[in-house]
C-alpha cells in the first residue's frame, strides 16, 4: 500500500503541469455548519469510530427484522430468491460457489452497522433509529451463531464481537502475482497445441436475454384496461369504507412499503404501485413485470376482490406458486382487513 501511495504521489506531482495551477484559494463556497456536518457525517469505521449511543439485542432485533427486513432477507436472514443472504455459509469460501454473508465473509462488524443505518431498509433508507440498527445487527449476528440472544450490542460491546473472516483478506497483489508474469512479449505464431477446439458454448446454458421477451412485455404494457372493470372497482370503494380501519391499515402497510408505493406519485418499485388495486385485475398494473403465474392469472380473469386479496396476503407463495412477492404473509385476519381498507383509500 505504501509503495502504491508513493508512486501515485509522484504521478500526482507530475500531472500538476497539465492542471490549472492555483496560486491560492478562490474563496468559493462557504464553511459548513456543525449541524450540517453532523447530519451527513455518519460513516462507521472498523475501530468503531462514529458509532452512536444506543443498544439492542437479538430478541428485539428479531421483531424489527421481521417487519423491516424479512420481506427480502427472509425471517432467518437466509435470503429470499435473488435477495442477499445475510446468514450462513461458514467454511464455504474455498469451495465452489462460496456463500458470502455477514457471518461468513464480512471482515468488520462496523460495515453492517454503517450499511444498515445508511442504506436500509431498501426503499425506505435512513429511517431506522440507532437502537433499531443495533438490534438488527445483533439479530444478524445471532442468526450467524456469532452471539447469544441476550448479548446487548452497543458502542461499548461492539468490538467484542469476533468476525470469523477478519483475517481473510489480503491487499491487491496483482503486481507480484500477475503483472510480473504477463508483461512479456506475446506469442504470435504456433502459440498452442493443435488443434484448437471449442470446449464450452454459451448457447448450451441458454441464459442470454431474448428479444421476444421484450416484445411480449410491451404487449402487456400496452394492453388497455377494461373501462367497465375500473368503474366497478370505484363503486366498490365508495360503497363501503371504514376510515378507522384504514388508519390501522396504514401502520400494517409499513411491512409492504419497502416494496410497494401508494398515493400521489406512487411508482412501481420492487413491487407494483398499488393505487386502485382493490377490484383491479391481477397482474395488470401498467409497466410492472409480473411473474408468469401472476400475469397468467390476471389474463384468466383473476380480479383482486377483497376476498381474493386477503387470501393472497395471508400466504402469498401458498396462494400463488411462483409469485415474485417475497413476503411471508399477514397471518392476522385483522391485519389483512386493515391493509385492504387502507389500500381502498387509494382508489386511483
Amino acid at each position: 500500500m505504501s509503495k502504491f501511495l508513493k508512486s501515485t504521489a509522484i504521478l500526482a506531482a507530475l500531472s500538476l503541469t497539465a492542471t490549472p495551477v492555483l496560486a491560492e484559494k478562490l474563496g468559493l463556497g462557504r464553511a459548513a455548519l456543525t449541524e450540517e456536518v453532523a447530519a451527513w457525517n455518519g460513516e462507521i469505521s472498523p475501530d468503531g469510530t462514529g458509532l452512536p449511543a444506543g443498544s439492542g439485542d437479538a430478541i428485539v432485533g428479531e421483531e424489527i427484522f421481521a417487519d423491516q427486513c424479512a420481506a427480502c432477507h427472509g425471517d432467518f436472514a437466509e435470503g429470499i430468491g435473488n435477495w442477499p443472504k445475510l446468514a450462513g455459509g461458514m467454511g464455504t469460501l474455498d469451495r465452489e460457489d462460496p456463500l458470502k454473508t455477514v457471518g461468513s465473509y464480512w471482515p468488520y462488524l462496523s460495515t453492517a452497522f454503517d450499511y444498515i443505518k445508511r442504506s436500509m431498509p431498501y426503499g425506505n433508507a435512513g429511517t431506522l433509529s440507532d437502537d433499531e440498527t443495533y438490534a438488527i445487527v445483533a439479530y444478524i449476528l445471532y442468526s450467524n451463531d456469532l452471539i447469544e440472544d441476550d448479548f446487548v450490542l452497543s458502542k461499548e460491546t461492539f468490538l467484542d464481537v469476533e468476525m470469523p473472516n477478519v483475517d481473510g483478506f489480503i491487499l491487491d497483489d496483482r503486481a507480484e502475482t500477475e503483472y510480473a508474469q504477463w508483461r512479456v512479449e506475446p506469442c504470435m505464431e504456433n502459440c498452442k497445441p493443435e488443434p484448437v477446439e471449442v470446449t464450452m458454448r454459451a448457447t448450451v446454458l441458454d441464459v442470454t436475454p431474448q428479444e421476444e421477451a421484450a416484445v411480449s412485455d410491451d404487449v402487456v404494457v400496452a394492453a388497455p384496461k377494461p373501462e367497465a372493470e375500473t368503474a366497478a372497482a370505484a363503486e366498490v370503494v365508495t360503497a363501503s369504507f371504514d376510515a378507522d380501519l384504514a388508519a390501522e391499515g396504514e401502520k400494517v402497510f409499513r411491512k409492504c412499503s419497502s416494496c410497494h408505493q401508494v398515493g400521489e406519485n406512487a411508482k412501481n418499485r420492487v413491487g407494483p404501485m398499488l393505487n386502485g388495486i382493490v377490484g383491479h385485475a391481477a397482474g395488470a398494473v401498467d409497466g410492472f413485470r409480473y411473474s408468469n403465474p401472476m400475469a397468467d392469472a390476471g389474463e384468466d380473469g383473476l380480479v383482486w376482490s377483497e376476498q381474493e386479496l386477503a387470501a393472497f396476503l395471508a400466504d402469498p407463495r401458498g396462494y400463488m406458486r411462483g409469485t415474485k412477492m417475497a413476503f411471508a404473509g399477514l397471518k392476522d385476519e385483522g391485519d389483512q382487513a386493515a391493509v385492504i381498507e387502507y389500500l381502498k383509500s387509494y382508489a386511483d
Binding site: 508513493k6 492542471t19 468559493l28 463556497g29 435477495w83 508483461r183 505464431e189 458454448r201 436475454p209
Partner: protein
C-alpha cells in the same frame, strides 16, 4: 505502433457502401454486376420528392427509429430487481470510442434519482482546514478540465468466470462506457478546503458518498484523489444524464466503476479507509484458497471484438471484412492490439484507429478478407506498461474459479461459415 492513415481508406469506404447495397441479394462481395437497374436509383423516392421534418420537430433529438435496437439491455436473472441492478451498453452496435450517454450502461443501488442543480450540495469535511459546502453554481466557478475516460464496472465479464455464459458482446463486455468529462479536479476542491490539517498525506484517505438512498460510500487513497479524480458535471459536452449521476458525479480514472460515486454529496478526509459494504462484502476477489483480495481498484488491460460478434453477425458473405473492437487499460494507454482468427494459435496486429489514450477506450480494426471459413476470433490488448491481456486459463490459474470481478480475459467468438457468431471457450 498505431497506423493512423490507411492509404486506401477512401476506397475501402466506397467498397463498404457497395457491399451494403448489394447485401440484400448478393453473397459474394467481389464487385458485383447489377442485372437490373436499382429502383432506389431509377425511381423517384418519397424522401426525394416531399418534405422531411421541420427544424423543431425534436428539440432534443433521439436516434432515428431504424436504430431502435441500439439500446441498453438488462439481464434480468442477475439481480433481484431493476432498482439495484445494472444494464449493458450495446457495444456491438457502436463504433469509434465515445459512448453516447443515452445508451451508456447504468448501475444503480437505489435507482436513478432526480436531483435539481439548485438543490445540490457538496460537502467536504473531516481532516480539512475548513469544512466546506459548495453549491452547483460554486463548482462552475472553479477552473475546469476536459478528459476522456472509460468507466468499467468491476463485474464486467464477471458472469464468464466459470465458462461461456452470455451470447453477445453487449452482455459479456457492455458494463463499460467512455465519455469526455468536464469538471473540476478533486485536488482543486480539497485544496480549497485546505489540507494542512491533514498533515502527512501519504497515509490519508477520502471517503466519498452519494446523495441517493444507497449513498454508496467508498474510500479512496489520497494519492489517487490528488492525482486525476474529477468532480464532473458534463459528459460528452452536455449535462450528465440522470442515470449517470446528474448533476455531479465523481470520476476515478482507470479504477472500478463502483468508485465513481454518482450524485456525490460528501467528501471526507480521513486517516483510514471506512471498509464500507462496497469495499468489503462486494468488490473483493475471492481466490481459490478462500482468502480474498481487497483494494483491487485498477481495471487491467482488456479488449473485445465487438463486430463480428453474436449480436453482430457477418451478413455480407465472403470478401472484405472489418473486424472491429475496443481495448482499454486502467494502467495507461493501449499501445497494441493483436487479433487471432484461429483461437489464439496465430495472431496479427490490428490497426488502432487513433493512438491510445491513457485510461480511455481505444478502437481497433483488422481489415481482412474473409474466405467464409469458420473463425475463432480473439483480441489481445497490450498497454504502455507492457502488460499483455491474459487468457481465461491464465487468470483461473492465479485466481481460481470463484472470482466475480476483474475478469479481463481474452474473449473468443466462434464465427461460423454462415457469418453467425457465438460465445465459446477454446482449448
Amino acid at each position: 505502433m498505431a497506423d493512423h492513415d490507411t492509404p486506401n481508406g477512401t476506397s475501402r469506404r466506397a467498397f463498404l457502401r457497395g457491399a451494403a447495397a448489394a447485401g440484400a441479394g448478393a453473397l459474394s462481395a467481389t464487385a458485383a454486376r447489377a442485372q437490373t437497374p436499382d429502383p432506389l436509383i431509377t425511381e423517384v423516392q418519397p424522401w426525394a420528392q416531399s418534405f422531411g421534418d421541420g427544424v423543431d420537430e425534436t428539440p432534443y433529438g433521439l436516434p432515428i427509429k431504424f436504430e431502435d435496437d441500439v439500446v441498453r439491455r438488462n439481464v434480468e436473472w442477475l439481480t433481484a430487481d431493476t432498482v439495484s441492478s445494472i444494464n449493458f451498453t450495446p457495444i456491438h452496435a457502436l463504433d469509434g470510442t465515445i459512448t453516447p450517454q443515452g445508451c451508456a450502461f447504468e448501475r444503480h443501488h437505489s435507482g436513478a434519482i432526480e436531483l435539481r442543480k439548485d438543490e445540490y450540495r457538496l460537502m467536504i469535511n473531516g481532516m480539512v482546514d475548513t469544512p466546506m459546502v459548495f453549491t452547483y453554481a460554486d463548482l462552475e466557478r472553479f477552473p475546469r478540465e476536459n478528459h476522456v475516460y472509460f468507466c468499467e464496472c468491476a463485474a464486467n465479464t464477471g458472469m464468464e468466470w466459470a465458462g461461456a455464459q452470455l451470447n453477445g458482446a453487449q452482455f459479456t463486455h457492455g458494463m463499460i462506457h467512455n465519455m469526455e468529462y468536464t469538471g473540476v479536479t478533486l485536488r482543486t476542491l480539497l485544496e480549497e478546503a485546505g489540507l494542512d490539517t491533514a498533515g502527512d498525506l501519504s497515509d490519508k484517505w477520502v471517503f466519498v458518498e452519494g446523495a441517493d438512498a444507497s449513498s454508496n460510500g467508498r474510500s479512496i487513497p489520497m494519492g489517487k484523489a490528488l492525482d486525476d479524480c474529477l468532480i464532473a458535471f458534463k459528459a460528452n459536452g452536455e449535462a450528465l444524464r440522470k442515470e449517470h449521476g446528474y448533476p455531479v458525479r465523481l470520476v476515478v480514472p482507470g479504477w472500478e466503476g463502483n468508485m465513481w460515486v454518482k450524485w456525490i454529496r460528501r467528501i471526507e478526509v480521513m486517516d483510514g479507509p471506512v471498509e464500507s459494504r462496497e469495499e468489503t462484502s462486494k468488490y473483493t476477489d475471492t481466490l481459490e484458497d478462500g482468502t480474498s483480495r481487497k483494494w483491487t481498484w485498477t481495471m487491467d488491460a482488456k479488449s473485445v471484438v465487438t463486430s463480428p460478434s453474436p449480436q453482430a453477425p457477418i451478413s455480407h458473405g465472403t470478401g472484405p471484412l472489418v473486424i472491429s473492437g475496443l481495448a482499454w487499460s486502467g494502467n495507461g494507454a493501449i499501445t497494441r492490439v493483436d487479433v487471432s482468427k484461429d483461437g489464439g494459435m496465430t495472431w496479427e496486429t490490428a490497426r488502432l484507429a487513433k493512438e491510445g489514450e491513457a485510461k480511455a477506450l481505444t478502437r481497433f480494426y483488422l481489415d481482412t478478407d474473409w474466405d467464409g471459413s469458420e473463425m475463432m476470433l480473439q483480441s489481445r490488448a497490450m498497454d504502455e506498461t507492457g502488460y499483455v491481456q491474459p487468457t481465461k486459463a491464465q487468470l483461473r490459474e492465479v485466481r481460481g474459479l470463484n472470482s466475480i470481478y476483474h475478469n479481463n480475459c481474452i474473449q473468443t467468438w466462434l464465427v461460423r461459415s454462415t457469418g453467425e457468431a457465438e460465445n465459446v471457450e477454446v482449448s
